[in-house]
C-alpha cells in the first residue's frame, strides 16, 4: 500500500524529498562540526590567554632585568659606559617592567574566576622588581660608584637569581596547566570523532538506499519507453505501451502512445502524399521538358530579335544622320519658301496690273472693232449706191443706144456716170478689203488678248493659289522645323533606345540561355526528385500501419 503510494508520487516530489533529506543530513553534520570547532577555538584561546601569554611576559620581564638592568650596572662598574647613559637605559627598562607587571596582574586577576591564582607564589617577588630597579635608578642618579657597587653586590645579584627562580617556577606551572588543557581537548576530540563516524556511515547508507529506490523508480519506466521506441524505430507504429502509473511517466507513456498514433496517421498520409508527389513530379518533368523546348525556341527567337534590333539600331543611326540633313534642308527650304513668297507677292501685283491693262486694251479693241463695223456698214451702203449707179448707167446707155442719134449725149453722161460708179466701186472694194483686214486683225487681237487676259487671270489665280500654297508651305515648313527637330531627337532617342533594346535583348538572350540551362538543371533536379520520391515511397513502405 505504502509502496503504491510512493509509486504514484510524482518523480519531482520524489527527487525533491531525496535532495531535502541529503541537505538536512549535510546541515546536521556541518552544525556538529561547527560546534566542535568552536569548542576547540575557545580552548585554544584560553590556553593562549591564560598560559602562553603570561609565560612570554614573564620571560620578557626576566630578560629585561637580566640584560637591561644588571648588565648595564655591570658595565657602569667596569666603566664601559657613563652614568648618564646607564641611567637612561635603566629608566626605559623600568617603564617596560612597570607596564608588563601591570599586565600580568590584570590578566591574573581576570583569570582567577576560571581557575587557581597561579601568580600567588611569585607576586611579592615580581612587585619587588619595581622597588629594586627604582633603587638602581636612584643610585645611578647620585652617580655614586661605591653605592652602586654595594647595591650591585649585596642586592642586585641576589635579586636577579631569586627572580629567575620564581619565573622558572611560574613557567613550569603554566606548562603543566597547558598539558591539562590538551588532555581535555584530546578527550573531546575522541568523543566527537565517534559521533561523526556514526553520522556519516548512517547518512551514506540511507542515501544509497533511497537513491537506489529512486533510480529504480525512474529507470524502469524509461526502459519500457526505450523498448517501445526501439519497436517504433523498426517501423511498427501499431505498438502501444501499457499504461502504468499516474505520475509523469504515465503522462509520458500516454504521450508516446498518442505520438505513435499521430505518426501512424501521418505516415499513412505521407504514403498517399508520396504517390501523389510521384505522379505530380512525373507531370512536372513532362512540362519541364516542354518548357525546355519552348525556352530553346525562345532563345533562338531572342537571338533573331537581337539581330533585328541591331539592324534597327544601325538603321536608326543612319536615319539619324539623314534626319540631321533633313533638318538643315528644312531650314533652307523655309528660307527659300519665304523668298519665293515675297517674289510671288510682287508677281501677283504685276499680274493684277497686267490684267487691268489687258481689260483696257480689250475695251479699246472692241471700240475699234465697232468703228470698223460702222465703216464696213457705210462702205456697204456706198457699194450698193455705186452698184445702183452702175446699173442705172448701164440701162441709161442701153436706152441711149436705142434712141439712136438722139441719145448720143445722154450716152456720154451715162458712160461718165458708170466710170464714176466703177471708181467708187473699186475704192469701196479697197476700203472694204482694208476694213475687213482691220476687223479680222481686231478680232484676232481680241481673241489673242482675251486668251492673254484669261491666261493672265489664270496666272493671277494660280499665283494666288501658289502664294497661298507657299504660305501654307512656309507655315508647314515652320511647323515642320521643330517637328523635324523633334523627329530628329526622337530618332536619336530611338537609336539610343534601339541600342538599349539591343543590349537588353542580348541580356535577355543570355538570360534565356541561362534559363534553358537552368531548366536543364531543373530537369536533372526533377529526375533526382523523382528518385527521391521513389526513395521516400520505399522508405515509407517500411512502416507498418493499420
Amino acid at each position: 500500500m505504502a509502496f503504491q503510494l510512493v509509486r504514484d508520487l510524482s518523480v519531482r516530489w520524489r527527487l525533491l524529498g531525496f535532495i531535502f533529506f541529503m541537505l538536512l543530513f549535510i546541515a546536521l553534520a556541518g552544525t556538529g562540526g561547527l560546534i566542535g570547532m568552536r569548542d576547540t577555538k575557545a580552548s585554544l584561546s584560553e590556553v593562549y590567554n591564560n598560559h602562553v601569554k603570561p609565560m612570554e611576559e614573564l620571560r620578557q620581564l626576566n630578560e629585561i632585568i637580566k640584560f637591561d638592568v644588571v648588565t648595564t650596572v655591570e658595565r657602569v662598574l667596569y666603566e664601559q659606559i657613563t652614568m648618564n647613559v646607564a641611567n637612561d637605559k635603566v629608566s626605559s627598562a623600568y617603564e617596560k617592567i612597570d607596564q608588563i607587571i601591570d599586565q600580568l596582574l590584570a590578566e591574573n586577576k581576570n583569570n582567577i574566576g576560571g581557575g587557581a591564582d597561579w601568580l600567588a607564589p611569585g607576586r611579592t617577588k615580581i612587585t619587588e622588581a619595581r622597588v629594586v630597579v627604582q633603587e638602581v635608578i636612584n643610585a645611578l642618579g647620585k652617580k655614586d660608584v661605591d653605592l652602586i657597587d654595594t647595591l650591585f653586590a649585596k642586592r642586585l645579584e641576589l635579586f636577579q637569581d631569586e627572580f629567575g627562580a620564581v619565573v622558572n617556577t611560574l613557567i613550569i606551572g603554566r606548562i603543566s596547566a597547558v598539558k591539562g588543557e590538551y588532555d581535555k581537548a584530546e578527550k573531546r576530540y575522541r568523543t566527537s570523532q565517534v559521533a561523526f563516524t556514526i553520522t556519516i556511515v548512517l547518512g551514506v547508507c540511507v542515501g544509497l538506499i533511497i537513491g537506489f529506490l529512486l533510480m529504480k523508480s525512474i529507470n524502469d519506466p524509461l526502459v519500457k519507453i526505450r523498448k517501445g521506441l526501439n519497436i517504433l524505430k523498426e517501423g511498427d507504429l501499431t505498438y502501444k505501451l501499457p499504461d502504468s502509473s499516474q505520475n509523469e511517466f504515465g503522462e509520458l507513456i500516454e504521450g508516446f502512445n498518442q505520438m505513435a498514433a499521430y505518426l501512424e496517421n501521418l505516415i499513412s498520409q505521407i504514403q498517399h502524399a508520396g504517390i501523389q508527389v510521384t505522379s505530380s513530379i512525373t507531370e512536372i518533368a513532362a512540362s519541364t521538358r516542354q518548357q525546355e523546348a519552348t525556352l530553346t525556341e525562345h532563345a533562338a527567337t531572342t537571338s533573331e530579335i537581337a539581330a533585328s534590333t541591331n539592324e534597327i539600331a544601325a538603321t536608326s543611326a543612319n536615319l539619324m544622320v539623314t534626319m540631321r540633313k533633313v533638318n538643315s534642308l528644312t531650314a533652307n527650304a523655309a528660307a527659300a519658301a519665304e523668298d519665293g513668297h515675297s517674289g510671288l507677292a510682287d508677281i501677283d501685283k504685276t499680274m493684277v496690273m497686267m490684267e487691268a491693262a489687258t481689260g483696257a486694251i480689250v475695251g479699246k479693241l472692241s471700240v475699234l472693232s465697232e468703228k470698223a463695223g460702222d465703216i464696213a456698214g457705210v462702205v456697204k451702203t456706198i457699194n450698193k449706191l455705186a452698184d445702183q449707179t452702175n446699173l442705172l448707167s448701164l440701162n441709161a446707155a442701153i436706152e441711149a443706144e436705142k434712141a439712136g442719134e438722139y441719145g448720143t449725149g445722154f450716152s456720154v453722161v451715162a458712160t461718165e456716170i458708170r466710170r464714176l460708179a466703177d471708181q467708187t466701186a473699186v475704192s469701196t472694194y479697197d476700203i472694204e478689203q482694208m476694213v475687213q483686214g482691220v476687223q479680222s486683225a481686231v478680232a484676232a487681237s481680241v481673241m489673242g488678248i482675251d486668251k492673254f487676259a484669261r491666261d493672265v487671270h489664270d496666272s493671277v489665280e494660280s499665283i494666288r493659289d501658289g502664294s497661298e500654297r507657299i504660305e501654307g508651305v512656309i507655315e508647314q515648313v515652320q511647323v515642320l522645323k521643330p517637328q523635324v527637330k523633334s523627329i530628329s531627337e526622337g530618332i536619336e532617342a530611338q537609336a539610343l533606345g534601339a541600342r538599349q533594346i539591343s543590349d537588353a535583348t542580348s541580356q535577355l538572350n543570355s538570360a534565356a540561355q541561362q534559363s534553358a540551362e537552368s531548366i536543364g538543371q531543373s530537369s536533372l533536379t526533377i529526375e533526382r526528385l523523382q528518385q527521391a520520391a521513389k526513395g521516400l515511397q520505399n522508405a515509407i513502405s517500411l512502416f507498418k500501419v493499420a
Partner: protein, 146 residues
C-alpha cells in the same frame, strides 16, 4: 453697135444691146418644177411672168455666184416670128462697149451651138466672145416654157 459685157468663171462674153430690155439686180425667182437645171425660175416683171436662165449653168460651169455685180439681163427672145421676154443671170454685168460690125471677127471654130465672133481689140490679153441669143438658149426649151 453697143455690147453689154459680162463674165463667167472662165470667160468673158458680150451681148448685143438690141435684144436687151432692161438690166435689173439679182432678184428671187420662183422655181419651176420639172424644168432643166439651167432654168433658174420665174420672175414677175410688171405683172408679166418671165423665165430666168442661169448663163453659167448654160455654159456647163455650175450655178452663178451671187455677187453685187451679178444681175439679171431681161431680153427679147425672137421665136416663131414674135418675141418672148426671158432673163439671163450673168456675173459682172457692169460695163458696155461701143463697136462697129467690122471690128468683130469670126473665130473660125464652129461649135455645135454656133458661137459668134471674137473681138480681140477690146482687151490685149483676153478674148471676148460675142454670143447669139438664139444659139445659146435652146428654142425648144423656151417654147416648152411658154
Amino acid at each position: 453697135m453697143l455690147l453689154l459685157l459680162f463674165e463667167t468663171k472662165d470667160g468673158r462674153y458680150a451681148l448685143d444691146s438690141k435684144y436687151i430690155v432692161e438690166i435689173i439686180p439679182l432678184l428671187n425667182t420662183k422655181r419651176i418644177p420639172a424644168a432643166p437645171a439651167f432654168v433658174k425660175g420665174m420672175l414677175n416683171y410688171h405683172g408679166m411672168p418671165v423665165p430666168v436662165f442661169d448663163f453659167c449653168a448654160l455654159e456647163g460651169e455650175g450655178a452663178s455666184r451671187p455677187f453685187y455685180s451679178t444681175r439679171i439681163i431681161l431680153l427679147n427672145y425672137p421665136i416663131d416670128g414674135g418675141v418672148k421676154m426671158v432673163g439671163i443671170i450673168a456675173e459682172r454685168a457692169t460695163d458696155v462697149i461701143k463697136c462697129s460690125e467690122s471690128d468683130i471677127r469670126s473665130s473660125g471654130i464652129l461649135l455645135e451651138k454656133g458661137w459668134g465672133a471674137v473681138r480681140g481689140e477690146y482687151d490685149q490679153e483676153e478674148i471676148v466672145q460675142l454670143f447669139d441669143v438664139k444659139q445659146v438658149i435652146p428654142e425648144d426649151v423656151v417654147r416648152e416654157l411658154f
